[in-house]
């Protein structure tokens, strides 16, 4: 059974139809990249998969481990192992990252039938994960994403992913706003989390992230549909030619 099966998915935001029949199957351990021009529906796809309000599914289905994902509340999806790394992680002043992540991890652990961690155990684990990903643990003491630089925000997302150990990680424009050094650190973190039972869906506009996180499959999203699929070489082709031919096709 595939980890994720998206079948003929249609979705709209308010009155605007954005996804017009997406088909995509992700097997366990695979890394898929979705590339596409602005406005093609990349972020909409990530929000529909994570359950954001205001994104209405008008057709098709999404099976996650064989179960209807779209029926689950966002927190249940998370506890079942779906993780969205945000393009713009939300700043939440006043809530310490440690408090938040401990609550998140314990909610996930409880759901899996594992013992909850106390504050000491949590901090120890979080520090160990941060060190192993080479991303520093100073952000744990600060309020969630508050005053973080673009690079810090993305590193914090990777740290959260490492702690929550998802089965399906969706990375929405993780490269946006990062300089090359920050990009390498974030990609290094993501690569360290690759494993045979963890799949990833990488959503990106530019090919450069895929120099560092090598995908198994690349898909082109345009006009709300996947218009072309291929191997990692497709990303290079797009970098060279741009999205021009697909824009024409979509229109």
């Amino acid at each position: 059974m595939p980890l994720l099966e998206i079948k003929d998915l249609h979705a709209r935001v308010e009155d605007k139809t954005i996804l017009e029949g997406i088909n995509l199957t992700i097997e366990a351990g695979e890394i898929h990249a979705i590339m596409g021009p602005n406005g093609s529906g990349k972020s909409t796809l990530s929000y529909v998969l994570s359950g954001r309000e205001g994104y209405e599914v008008t057709g098709g289905e999404v099976l996650y481990q064989g179960v209807d994902l779209l029926q689950m509340a966002p927190e249940i999806r998370a506890r079942e192992g779906v993780f969205l790394a945000f393009q713009y992680p939300v700043e939440i002043p006043g809530v310490a990252t440690t408090t938040f992540l401990k609550a998140a991890l314990n909610a996930v652990r409880k759901h899996r039938g594992e013992a909850e961690l106390d504050a000491m155990q949590f901090v120890k684990l979080a520090r160990a994960k941060a060190t192993s990903l080479n991303i520093g643990d100073d952000m744990l003491k600060r309020a969630i994403n508050t005053g973080f630089s673009g690079g810090e925000k993305k590193r914090a997302e990777v740290l959260q992913m490492a702690l929550l150990e998802p089965r399906l990680a969706i990375l929405d424009e993780t490269d946006s706003g990062l300089d090359i050094d920050a990009l390498k650190v974030v990609a290094g973190g993501v690569n360290a989390l690759r494993s045979a039972d963890r799949s990833m869906l990488i959503i990106t506009h530019y090919q450069r992230l895929l120099d560092f996180i090598i995908p198994d499959h690349v898909h082109v999203l345009a006009g709300g549909r996947i218009v072309k699929s291929g191997g990692k070489e497709l990303a290079l082709e797009l970098e060279e030619k741009g999205y021009g031919e697909f824009l024409g096709e979509a229109a």
């Binding site: 994570s50 359950g51 954001r52 309000e53 509340a73 966002p74 927190e75 999806r77 998370a78 506890r79 993780f83 969205l84 945000f86 992680p89 939300v90 939440i92 002043p93 006043g94 809530v95 408090t99 938040f100 992540l101 609550a103 998140a104 991890l105 909610a107 996930v108 759901h111 309020a143 969630i144 959260q160 929550l164």
Partner: protein, 441 residues
């Protein structure tokens, strides 16, 4: 006019009865002072919505409740469990009457007086006469006049110059109405001597279901270079009416760190009036409130910069659920010679329900030309985006909501300079959220 007479009538009748009994044991000056105050109250009655200062807080429900003056009860033998566990000195009042058995005043250092107002009047009648007559009853403050007419007891606190008390003083007021609705009017005097430093916690508590009216007035004088941390918790019975007024007189170089947390009562008003009477004063008046059901919570402040070169800071944050109503009225007056005044005021409210309501009236009145003053008010909802973010990490939506509310309030409780009291107040907020969750499930 006829209507106003109506609201004062029951009080006038009660006063006549009390006056007969008081003749035998109260000094003449006090009887006269009470009569003057009653005359003022009789002329005005309870404030109604035509009174500007009470435009948003309607006392109809209060005037209809039919409160009898509280009589001394048999002493209670333990404190309610809701009392915040804070080490230090303690003075307890039950329905406005001093409770020596529950008070902890044995080991007061020299130069510190904490006693009942009654004891102070007996001990130092001349001094108390001059203090209590200092502020004459005013038609602008009818509830203060009502307090003067009826007050049975209260607190007398004096800290000699230079004394720095390490342990806080906990003033506990317990309301208890076993049968009929009762009213009590505590009158307190705080005198913080020059260079002294002290932290005071006031807890106003009662059992849910009891109907009573607590109408307290505190006169607080802070002398040169002294520091007062003054933290007030209003966690009264859900059927109580709590009206509290504090008149602050700040001298040169003083630091006032005030905080009021309101979670209880069906109707409550916490009013602070501060006179900035010198330079180098830092006056912080902050507060938070959390209300649900049909609660009505009012915070009213008046900061009078009468002298140059001082700072005032006010931040109030509130959370209103269901049909709860909040009021913030804050006025900063900068008098003509109060140059170099730095005054800042902010009111922020979160509405958790469509039927909750917030009335906000910030006012700046500035007669000096070289000042830095600002005010701001916001009323908003929880950010959906933040809740979604927390939910995508596996956090339950109710927990996500509570996390955001706690952070919103903790931002202002952080201004409380006494750590134990700050933590205790944060726990009150946490408990309010837990109680709300239980109602949901």
């Amino acid at each position: 006019m006829a209507k106003k007479k109506n609201t004062s009538e029951p009080f006038v009748e009660q006063f006549a009865e009390l006056a007969l009994a008081r003749k035998d044991h109260e000094p003449a000056w006090l009887l006269a002072l009470r009569q003057d105050a009653l005359d003022v109250f009789q002329a005005t009655g309870l404030p109604d919505r035509k009174t500007e200062a009470w435009k948003y807080t309607n006392l109809n429900k209060l005037s209809k409740a039919g409160f009898a003056p509280a009589q001394p009860l048999r002493e209670i033998d333990s404190l309610p469990i809701s009392i915040l566990p804070v080490e230090g000195y303690r003075i307890v009042f039950l329905n406005g009457y001093f409770q020596p058995a529950l008070s902890l005043l044995q080991s007061l250092p020299e130069g510190v007086i904490i006693e009942s107002l009654g004891a102070a009047i007996t001990r130092e009648p001349d001094l108390l006469e001059s203090q209590m007559s200092h502020r004459s009853p005013s038609r602008d403050m009818p509830l203060s006049a009502l307090n003067s007419a009826f007050s049975e007891d209260g607190l007398y606190l004096r800290i000699a110059p230079g004394i720095k008390l390490e342990q806080p003083i906990h003033i506990v007021s317990i309301g208890q109405a076993d049968e009929e609705p009762i009213a009590f009017h505590m009158r307190s005097y705080f005198e913080i001597g020059a260079g002294a430093s002290v932290d005071i916690l006031e807890s106003h508590v009662g059992r849910d279901g009891d109907t009573y009216f607590s109408n307290s007035v505190s006169e607080i004088s802070i002398e040169k270079d002294a520091r007062l941390g003054h933290y007030r918790l209003q966690d009264e019975s859900n059927r109580a009416f709590n009206i509290g007024l504090a008149n602050l007189d700040l001298a040169q170089g003083t630091f006032y760190n005030g905080f009021g947390l309101q979670v209880g009562s069906t109707l409550a008003r916490n009013e602070i009036r501060a006179r900035i009477g010198g330079e180098g004063i830092e006056c912080c008046i902050n507060g938070a409130y959390l209300a649900s059901g049909t609660q009505h919570i009012d915070n009213t402040t008046f900061v009078d910069h009468a002298e140059a070169g001082s700072t005032s800071r006010q931040t109030f944050k509130g959370v209103l659920d269901d049909q709860a109503k909040g009021v913030f009225q804050g006025k900063v007056l900068v008098e003509p010679n109060a140059q170099k005044t730095d005054g800042h005021q902010l009111s922020r409210t979160l509405l958790l329900s469509r039927s909750a309501e917030m009335d906000c009236k910030p006012e700046l009145e500035i007669y000096a030309d070289d000042v830095k003053c600002s005010h701001g008010a916001t009323v908003g909802e929880l950010e959906e985006e933040a809740i979604f973010y927390l939910r995508t990490r596996g956090i339950d939506p109710v927990d996500a909501r509570d996390m955001l509310i706690e952070a919103f309030i903790a931002d202002v409780t952080a201004e409380i300079s006494h750590q134990t009291i700050r933590e205790a107040f944060d726990r009150v907020v946490h408990q309010w959220l837990i109680d709300g969750q239980e109602v949901l499930t």
